[in-house]
């Protein structure tokens, strides 16, 4: 078993710069959303497709970030 399709992408979510990391291990895609600085995980998700893992992780991250700025 190996990690495949490892990718990192920086985006803005609720005015916060985040790093979205995705990769596949076995038959599962994993997505971690971290604050770009210092790099701590805000949310994570796993799913059968990259899109699903990203969508769930980003939604969770948006929730946590919006809670913070209220």
């Amino acid at each position: 078993m190996k990690s495949e399709h490892f990718a990192e992408e920086f985006r803005e979510l609720h005015s916060t710069r985040v790093c979205i990391t995705t990769y596949c291990i076995g038959d599962e895609f994993h997505c971690h959303v971290s604050n770009a600085d210092p790099g701590a995980t805000i949310a994570r998700a796993s799913a059968k497709t990259k899109e699903d893992a990203e969508r769930v992780a980003i939604n969770k991250a948006l929730e946590r970030l919006s809670f913070r700025i209220q």
Partner: protein
């Protein structure tokens, strides 16, 4: 890696790949995200949870000598074992674990350069199996407090010319604009930094692939801000883990003779009644 002051404390992902079945080597993953190990890890590696296994879970403190002896003994680690630590976030908590192992006198503890991120990015082999470990006896030394700074020492150091404090948090945490990294709980009453502390975020010591920058680059980074080897250096962050990463860089990669980690960090200082706080960014920033 040969250029570093103590290159023996750093191993490459290739070295780990070649030694992952070596009976004298125990590989331990320590992540910020404590569930990452379960996704897949270096085959044969064990996982340690920093929230429950690398601290005192009752009072705020590092792990006790007794608990460390149990943890290492249960992990099949003897006093002569080579322990290789790695983790996510460019080895944040791997460095935290190494700092504690060093406090209790473990001789051969090393960091896998690049951490979990590099291992994954290189597509190296992973496993979901948790290895069965042989129970052994581990005898720790009494805690070496010379690599740690307590609040009263930090207070005195703040006014001493032979000390320099390095705040390794982000610029926004240092300036007091935010009280914690985005998305994480706020753990202090006041934002800002210890007066006189230099701001060098921990991540500036790393390359894009998670490996450490070269010795020359690190020398320029820290020396350029007055964090030099002729001073007693105290690193701090929010809870002491990011600063253990910088402690590792200064002590082992640059070979500074006097470096400590103030693990009480901003969570302690920023909650103290009457503690001096500075908010302004230095003009050079």
């Amino acid at each position: 890696m040969a250029d570093y002051a103590h290159p023996e404390v750093l191993v490459s992902t290739d070295w780990v790949d070649q030694h992952k079945t070596d009976p004298n080597v125990v590989i331990a993953e320590v992540d910020v995200d404590t569930t990452a190990y379960n996704e897949g890890h270096v085959p044969g590696s064990i996982g340690w949870n920093w929230q429950t296994q690398l601290c005192d879970t009752v009072q705020r403190d590092v792990i006790s000598k007794t608990d460390l002896e149990k943890l290492l003994g249960n992990s099949g680690i003897t006093n002569n074992t080579t322990v290789v630590l790695y983790g996510d976030n460019n080895n944040w908590f791997a460095a935290w674990a190494l700092w504690q192992l060093k406090m209790y006198g473990h001789k051969d503890a090393r960091i896998m350069n690049g951490g979990r991120k590099k291992w994954l990015a290189e597509g190296k082999q992973l496993s979901k199996d948790v290895p069965s470990t042989k129970l052994v006896t581990y005898t720790a030394t009494n805690r070496d407090e010379s690599i740690r700074t307590y609040l009263n020492q930090a207070m005195q150091a703040m006014q001493a010319s032979d000390y320099v404090m390095v705040d390794v948090r982000s610029a926004d945490e240092y300036s007091g604009k935010i009280l914690s990294p985005p998305g994480l709980p706020e753990t202090c009453q006041r934002g800002g930094h210890i007066p006189g502390a230099k701001n060098i975020p921990w991540g500036q010591a790393c390359n894009e692939d998670g490996t450490f920058k070269s010795r020359d680059e690190l020398q320029t980074l820290y020396g350029g801000k007055g964090v030099t080897s002729d001073k007693n250096v105290i690193a701090y962050c929010r809870i002491g883990e990011r600063s253990s990463h910088t402690w590792f860089v200064l002590k082992y990669l640059l070979g500074y003779p006097s470096v400590t980690n103030y693990d009480g960090s901003w969570t302690e200082w920023g909650n103290l009644v009457g503690a001096p706080v500075e908010k302004a960014m230095p003009a050079s920033s």
